[in-house]
């Protein structure tokens, strides 16, 4: 290690420390938690996390993800993607968003699917993002054959 090698290493560690400090702290949100599903070309209703059921997300290119929701949280249950990272990202619950690496999100990079734990007004439970408004009404993309209404249909229902 030469002198400027240490300089590079030091500045990297300093930058990540700054990011860590800037990272917003989890806010204690009362009330029901919701799941926001983001899929390219589709808009989903916020899903209240009050029951246990599966949500199937299908895209025109054959991508298929299954999200399991349960009271207070969710997880990616199945995905036919190449790396299965989204499944390994595990549960997101109101209690663990502060300690998760990806905070309130589960991301399936190959399928461009993002799951977020949000409050009723669409704010991330970790209270990170700017004033992003949720879209309470489902608007389906005309180019897609499968409408959100179809894809959000519960596969199994265990009240």
């Amino acid at each position: 290690m030469k002198r400027r090698d240490w300089l590079i290493l030091g500045s990297v560690l300093a930058a990540s420390l700054i990011l860590l400090l800037l990272r917003p702290q989890a806010s204690q949100n009362a009330g029901t938690a919701y799941l926001r599903i983001s899929v390219p070309g589709q808009t989903y209703q916020l899903v209240p996390l009050t029951e246990t059921r599966d949500i199937v997300i299908e895209q025109a290119d054959g991508s298929r993800n299954v999200v399991e929701i349960f009271p207070g949280g969710f997880r990616m249950k199945e995905s036919n993607c190449s790396n299965q990272d989204c499944i390994l990202q595990g549960d997101v619950t109101v209690d663990n968003v502060g300690s998760r690496v990806l905070a309130n999100e589960v991301i399936c990079l190959p399928h461009r699917v993002v799951l977020e734990l949000v409050t009723a007004d669409g704010q991330p439970v970790e209270n990170t993002a700017s004033a992003q408004t949720a879209q309470p009404a489902a608007t389906d993309d005309a180019t897609l054959s499968d409408t959100p209404e179809n894809t959000v249909a519960p596969v199994e229902n265990t009240p």
């Binding site: 990297v12 390994l88 993002a129």
Partner: protein, 179 residues
């Protein structure tokens, strides 16, 4: 080193990167996108020193496209190309600088690879909060870069192909003259 030798070495190094990429895909994954050893970064550090910037860029593109088609899906190629381009750009600026060893080049490469990937993901997925994810990914990238950079440094010390190629050329020339 003449063009044929350069091309041959570049081809060999690309196939080494593909083999290493396949090997890495067999290792258990963490579930956190972006955390991997990145052994092909080691090969790219070597090629920057041995073959120069232009050839290294070509090798990076060929490797990422081929490995993406072999193991992942087309979407993942976009992320790895974003990471690879930023990483190689920064590394090529550092190679040969005074006071910077291959270890520093490796660290910078590992970190900027992660930055490029996260930037691509932020744009494609429209999730700006991913930026904070770099607080974890940057030290990880630095650690992996430290490993791959050290490997590259050791390899350069013990396998110097430029000198070896040159010396065989000289050997053949002098051998031809003396006999």
């Amino acid at each position: 080193m003449n063009q044929t030798r350069k091309l041959t070495l570049a081809g060999i190094l690309v196939s080494v990167m593909l083999a290493l990429g396949y090997l890495e895909s067999l290792l258990p994954v963490s579930g956190v996108p972006g955390i991997k050893l990145g052994l092909s970064n080691c090969v790219l550090v070597l090629s920057l020193y041995w073959l120069g910037t232009g050839v290294s860029f070509e090798m990076m593109v060929v490797k990422n496209v081929l490995l993406g088609l072999m193991l992942a899906n087309p979407m993942m190629i976009v992320y790895s190309l974003a990471g690879g381009t930023l990483s190689l750009t920064v590394m090529s600026l550092l190679v040969g600088r005074k006071g910077v060893s291959p270890i520093g080049v490796g660290i910078a490469g590992g970190v900027t690879h992660n930055i490029g990937q996260v930037a691509a993901a932020m744009l494609i997925l429209q999730t700006p909060t991913l930026m904070y994810y770099l607080a974890l990914l940057m030290p990880v990238g630095a650690g992996m870069g430290l490993i791959t950079g050290t490997l590259a440094k050791l390899l350069m010390r013990h396998v110097p192909p430029l000198k070896r190629f040159q010396s065989t050329e000289e050997d053949r020339n002098t051998g031809g003259e003396s006999s």
